[in-house]
Amino acid sequence: MSISAVSTTTLREAPPPRRQRLLEDERWLAFVLLAPTIVLLGMFIAYPFIRGILLSVTSSRVGMPGDFVGLANFYKIFNDGIFRTAVYNTFLYTGVTTVFKLGLGLWLAMLLNRNFRGKAFIRAFILLPFIIPTVLSTFAWKWMFDPTFSVLNWLLYHLGLITGRINWLGDPDLAMISIIIVNIWRGVPFFAISLLAGLQTISPELNEAAAIDGAKPWQRFWHITWPLLLPVTMVVMLFSVIQTFADFQIVYVMTGGGPANATHLFATYAYQIGIGTGLLSEGAAISLAMFPVLLLVVIIQLLYIRRVEVR
């Protein structure tokens, strides 16, 4: 007891070094702690963003700085048929997959919310499509959709549903459907596990009380579960919309934008123009064309989170 008292007094007497005194100030400490993150995000997000805007108003190609051309690149892409198809595809892809991911994900979450044997095990397995590298699992799908060796065709044929082969990735509409299926496959686990976490915060007593009052299962879902789950659902959906809208990997592997440029999204077309053919400025313009939509989603998300926090 007395020893520790002595040691603290000796510590107090020695003035702490200057560096340490600075760190005692909350503002300096905050600055020091935040500096690495700010430098990193400034160098590799803010700076590239500005560079991207500057690039999109020039006529740069690989190895050629190019001149200022104003909005000519944007004018050019908006009159480009493939770009318009890509815009249409991106909205279709995002819309359709989000509806299915939400519906199936919610269904799966409700199934997983019951008590059954092996629940932890099944939950762990269900997340696999989401954690396995997307490019690698998409190759498995591409192989399943292969025109000549498709296992899906084999299955449908032996079930008696088709008589000839289906050329999944050779037809523009079927290729788009195939891509949508793969995206739904990848996204359902994310929705299911996130919504399951939301479901688990809802007290079962609420449902029991409603059941005693004579509410049918459907009514209990619509009037109790759904409203309480809505905040989580909104956030999960907005995250998913951003990721899907800017998706690249699935289309790149499945079709590469083909057949005949019919399945491009913003990102794959930007890659084809910017990296494939080396028209850097035009590629940057295509990428940046995503920005207004992404910004809108982010604003909705920020407003929504703030509203939930205020409540």
Partner: protein, 283 residues
């Protein structure tokens, strides 16, 4: 359960659950079976007779052998591991520090900085890859692992920060104040008191960041060009397809072996991963 509910349980639970599992897990089964199936069986048209696509009686290691002997798969695995570990470490240090500052310190512009970091969390890689490729070239980082080790933290750090903020907020202020009264400096209190309490959060953020960087594709595709520098997803994509010819056996074997490390990491930390996933959504 009430009498007569047996068929209901089948219709409303077992059957839909089985269909979900079939849909979600079949591609992995297909990966496994393709990677051990001899080429002679692999390339049989889907409508040939006496053909059972779901099983093979003559499993072979040829595809795996091809992968390690004829391609640089071993170096891709090593590159991916190194890049994922290094970028996860950087993001964890940045994320833990930034998360601590944003959740526990008072300073001007704390709110707007937090919002700013949250917004960068939502920036998809595909928005910036073209100007970033130029910048990487200008810094002379192109075709080196550093191009990825330095850029991956841009999407990992905001996520780590966001997750750590949640964990740090839950640590009671009194704990830190006790340490300060006992003579610890602010820095020491953070390092020895607050951060150890948040270790489950650091694990969640780490495992999540590791899987994200293992999965990253477009930066690796654009920034790396020589075969021996590539990561698994890019190597498999670019080196196992020659023109229009797909080497499906090695491709599926590569997809399988490239997934195993991340699946193992995940299986050890399932609970932490799920906590990270749901934490990243709720904030």
């Amino acid at each position: 359960m009430i009498e007569g509910a047996r068929w209901r349980k089948w219709v409303f639970f077992y059957v839909p659950m089985a269909l979900f599992l079939l849909f979600l897990l079949f591609p992995f089964y297909w990966m496994v079976i393709t990677s051990v199936r001899p080429d002679g069986e692999l390339y049989r048209p889907w409508n040939s007779s006496n053909y059972n696509p779901f099983w093979t009686w003559k499993p072979t290691w040829d595809h795996v052998r091809y992968l390690f002997e004829e391609t640089l798969f071993a170096s891709w695995l090593w590159n991916t591991t190194f890049i994922a570990l290094a970028s996860t470490a950087i993001s964890l240090v940045c994320g833990v520090f930034a998360g601590y500052a944003l959740s526990r310190l008072n300073f001007p512009f704390a709110g707007s900085l937090g919002t700013g970091i949250f917004i960068t969390y939502l920036v998809p890689q595909t928005l910036l890859f073209i100007p970033l490729a130029e910048i990487i070239r200008n810094y002379r980082l192109g075709d080196t692992p550093w191009s990825l080790i330095l850029t991956y933290p841009t999407f990992l750090t905001p996520f780590c920060t966001w997750l750590m903020m949640g964990y740090f907020k839950a640590v009671p202020k009194e704990l830190e104040e006790c340490a300060r009264i006992d003579g610890a400096s602010r820095w020491q209190a953070m390092l020895y008191i607050v951060i150890p309490v948040a270790i489950p959060g650091i694990l969640s953020a780490g495992i999540f960041a590791f899987t994200l960087s293992w999965n990253e594709f477009i930066y690796a595709l654009v920034f790396l060009s020589s075969p021996e520098q590539k990561t698994v997803p890019v190597g498999v994509t670019s080196e196992l397809i020659r023109g229009d010819v797909f080497y499906w056996g090695p491709l599926m074997a590569g997809a399988l072996l490239g997934s195993i490390p991340v699946a193992i990491a995940y299986s050890f930390f399932v609970e932490h991963y799920v906590a990270g996933l749901t934490g990243s959504v709720k904030g």
